[in-house]
Every structure is written in C-alpha cells, then in structure tokens.
C-alpha cells in the first residue's frame, strides 16, 4: 500500500491548540489575541468569519478553509455571502498580480521597447 505523502492531514487541525507544548507563553499570547480579534466588535463575529474565509483562500491554508467554511455556516452565513467573500479574496489576489504589471510596463518603456 502506498504511503500517504501529503503534509496536510485534516485531523491535525484539532491539534492546533498543542502548538504551545514547547512555548506556552507565546502560544497563550497568540490565542488570547486570536480570540480578541474574532470577538464581536465594530465588525460582527460573522463578518469577521467571512473575512477569515476569504483570507484562508488567499493564503491557501487547507486547515483555515476547513475551519472557516464550518464557522461561517455555524454563524448563519448564506452560500452567496461565503462565495462573495471568496471572490473578494480572489479579486485582490489577481489585482495584486496585475498591479505589479505596472512595474513591467515601466521596465519595458525604460528599455525603450
């Protein structure tokens, strides 16, 4: 039987809390910060979860996509809201690629083409 070669295992998501095993103080600081970031504030927890879903796609983190797909559903987001958020992420990602083409344009002109 072929050995599994992927580094990403869904069950590892549950071990996120264990990252403090060797550095508990910093992990605690991170999780306190993380909890505060996602609490209801000027933005609702649901809006923050939709932002997280978009960012999860942009940074292509399978754990985060798994977690925030579930989280947005739990917070009552509609599929339309979820996919609009993902498209916002995609638009920024493609926009950020294309805006760099200005540098290429500058260089083309600098080279006198």
């Amino acid at each position: 039987m072929a050995q599994e070669t992927t580094y990403y295992k869904p069950e590892d998501l549950k071990k996120f809390g264990n990252i403090g095993e060797f550095e508990p103080d910093l992990a605690k600081k991170f999780f306190d910060y993380y909890g505060a970031v996602f609490a209801d504030g000027a933005l609702s927890a649901k809006e923050k979860s939709l932002i997280a879903l978009a960012v999860a796609h942009v940074v292509q983190c399978p754990y985060c996509i798994d977690a925030y797909t579930t989280d947005t559903l739990e917070k009552g987001a509609t599929e339309e809201q979820m996919w609009e958020a993902i498209h916002v992420g995609a638009a920024i990602r493609s926009g950020s690629t294309l805006v760099h083409s200005v540098q290429a344009l500058n260089k083309v002109k600098e080279l006198g083409v």
């Binding site: 609702s44 559903l73 917070k75 009552g76």
Partner: protein, 347 residues
C-alpha cells in the same frame, strides 16, 4: 423519503442507535457523558422540578424531514389515545406544572388534538404547540387551525431551518419553504408574531448539516431582517438548537462519514454551564402510549423512566422531581456550546 421504520432500516431500532453511539465513542476514546457530568459535579443529574409536560401525541406527520429525531412521517401510525390524553390532563392539573408542550409528528394530525387543547385551556395552563407550518395548508381539515390556536392563546413554535428556500427544502422537502412562508403570513395576519398582540410565534432553527448552531441572537437578527425584507414575515424569538445524533440525523451522519467528527465536536464543545440548564431538568416527556421519559430524545431511544412512576397514569410530582435522569452519549447534543433545548440556547 420514507421513515427508517418503513424502509426496514436497522437504525429504526433504538438499541442499534445506542450501540452505534457507544461504539463510536469507544473507538474515539470519548468520555462517557456521565463521567463528564461527574467532572462538572453534576452527577447524578436530577430535575429542578416538573414544570413542563411535553406530550408526543404521535409519530404521524405530513412531512419526512431529513433530520427528524422522531423518524416521523406519513407512514407512521403511532397515535396517543383520548384516554391517555385524559391521564395527561390530570397530571397537568397538578400545582407546579405550568405548561403543556404538544409535539409529534405533526400533533395536529392526532384526531383528538383539538379536544386536548380545549381541555388544557380550561385548566389555564400555558399551551405550546410544535407546529411544522405546512400542516396549516394540508387541507380543509387544518385550514382554520391558526384561528383555533389564537382562540386558545396557544404559543406556536415552528421549525424553519433557514431563511432561504434551498437549505430549508434540502432538509424538510421540496416546496416546504414556500408553504411555510404562506403559513407564517397567515399566522401574522391573526397577530401571531406581532409585538404586543399577546400571540406568540417562535421559530426554531437547526443546522442543515453536520455543524453546530452559532450565536442565537445573531441568527435571530438575521432571520428577522431577511424574513421581513423578503416576505414581510415577523416572529417573536428564534430558538437555535443542535441536531441530535440519533434517528434520521444519525443515518445522515453515517452516510456522509461525519459521525466521528460530529460526536467529537459535541464532546469538545461540552459546556458545564449549559449542562445545568438542560430541558430534562424541568420537563417530563410523555410518549404516545403514556410511557414517561426524561426528554423527547430519550423517548425516541426508548429510554423509559425506571422506578415507581413509569406511566402518566401513575404521575406523582414529588417522586418524579427526585428521580435520576437517564443519560447516554446523545446527551452531549444538549450541552455543546451555548447548549440546546426545545427552547433554544441555554447560556
């Protein structure tokens, strides 16, 4: 879709369901619910008192919802008799029992449903009906039910899995959403769900898949905004509840391979504060044949009360108030996160 029973499914057996819950828990090394309560200092779990008498008047229903914990449907014939209802009314008259909560199936399909409500109304107790909404449009026999509810000031509690058609129909059947909206409009026209009308209309939300319900107040705001904007429908409160891993929802968890993750999620989300407020502590559940249970879920798992009082005809409040509540792994469903009961989040 037919009920598990009509399909001859092994899951129609409560023993089989409990066996699966035990096996999955053992495989995943999940703590028993009783042990979890011991850790929280809540074991044995005892009632705070029988305030609510919940009658399951039968398993017959005009819908066959994917997640139904009763395995109700048009093919079920179990029906509470008038004699058993009479025994329930005697129990309801007991001082300290404040509320009659009528559920099913579609309880309105019991031939003695209206008689039960009329008699309970004479006792001046609070009456709640778990109405699936579409029954109100299921034919001439049921069309005047909203007026009947209003006449007896019955509090209507209605399931609506989501404020959009797709998810609602996915869980409850094609066309259920549109008919539910029509029924809600009819209830609104009589004053149900309108502030200060004295007629209470609450909705129940349960997730359409293998995930938990998020914050009840946020969901309530979303439901209120969306239903008002899109359909001009109003209601009083939204109860967000957790899907119990039994019966047809258990079947769905097994089919889509989510059973392990769902049980783990319920256990991880155990909330001792929610455990102090679970519905079995103030509610007594009566089966269609008069048998007594700690809750509607224990009823569907055939976990009958043990001891001196096991039938409604033997109702004795002081004995029941001091009983020990029967527990199993499904009880994690009522204590996960903010907790869950027929009246929504607990904390």
């Amino acid at each position: 879709m037919k009920s598990l029973l009509a399909r001859g499914s092994e899951l129609a057996s409560s023993k089989e369901q409990l066996k699966i819950l035990t096996e999955v828990s053992e495989k995943l090394a999940l703590p028993s619910f009783s042990d979890k309560l011991k850790e929280a200092g809540l074991y044995p779990l005892r009632p705070t008192g029988v305030d609510i008498l919940q009658l399951n008047v039968g398993k017959l229903c005009n819908q066959t919802c994917k997640h139904c914990h009763v395995d109700a449907g048009p093919d079920r014939r179990e029906t509470m008799s008038k004699e058993t209802m009479q025994e329930c009314l005697v129990a309801l008259a007991t001082p300290g029992v404040t509320t009659l909560d009528i559920t099913g199936g579609a309880p309105e399909m019991n031939p003695n449903f209206r008689w039960l409500v009329e008699e309970a109304s004479k006792l001046r107790k609070k009456i709640m009906i778990r109405c699936n909404l579409t029954i109100l449009l299921a034919g001439e026999k049921y069309r005047d039910l909203p007026e009947f509810f209003a006449e007896h000031k019955v509090e209507v509690v209605s399931s609506l899995p989501f404020f959009q058609k797709r998810r609602t129909d996915a869980q409850r059947g094609e066309g259920v959403f549109d008919r539910s909206i029509e029924a809600l409009k009819k209830l609104n026209s009589l004053g149900y769900g309108i502030p200060d009308s004295g007629l209470v209309l609450n909705l129940v939300y349960n997730p359409v898949g293998a995930f938990l319900a998020g914050g009840q107040s946020t969901l309530e705001n979303d439901f209120k905004k969306e239903l008002k904007q899109a359909y001009d429908v109003q209601f009083n409160s939204l109860f967000a509840i957790t899907n119990m891993p039994i019966s047809r929802f258990l079947e769905s968890l097994l089919e889509n391979g989510n059973i392990d993750a769902y049980l783990e999620k319920l256990v991880t989300a155990f909330n001792p504060v929610a455990a102090t407020g679970v519905m079995c502590r103030n509610t007594l559940s009566v089966g269609w044949d008069g048998s007594l249970y700690d809750c509607d879920f224990n009823q569907m798992l055939d976990m009958k009360l043990e001891g001196k009082v096991s039938k409604i005809s033997e109702f004795n409040k002081s004995i029941l108030d001091s009983r020990e509540i029967l527990l199993h792994q499904h009880c994690y469903g009522c204590t996960a996160g903010a907790g869950s009961s027929c009246a929504g989040s607990i904390t």
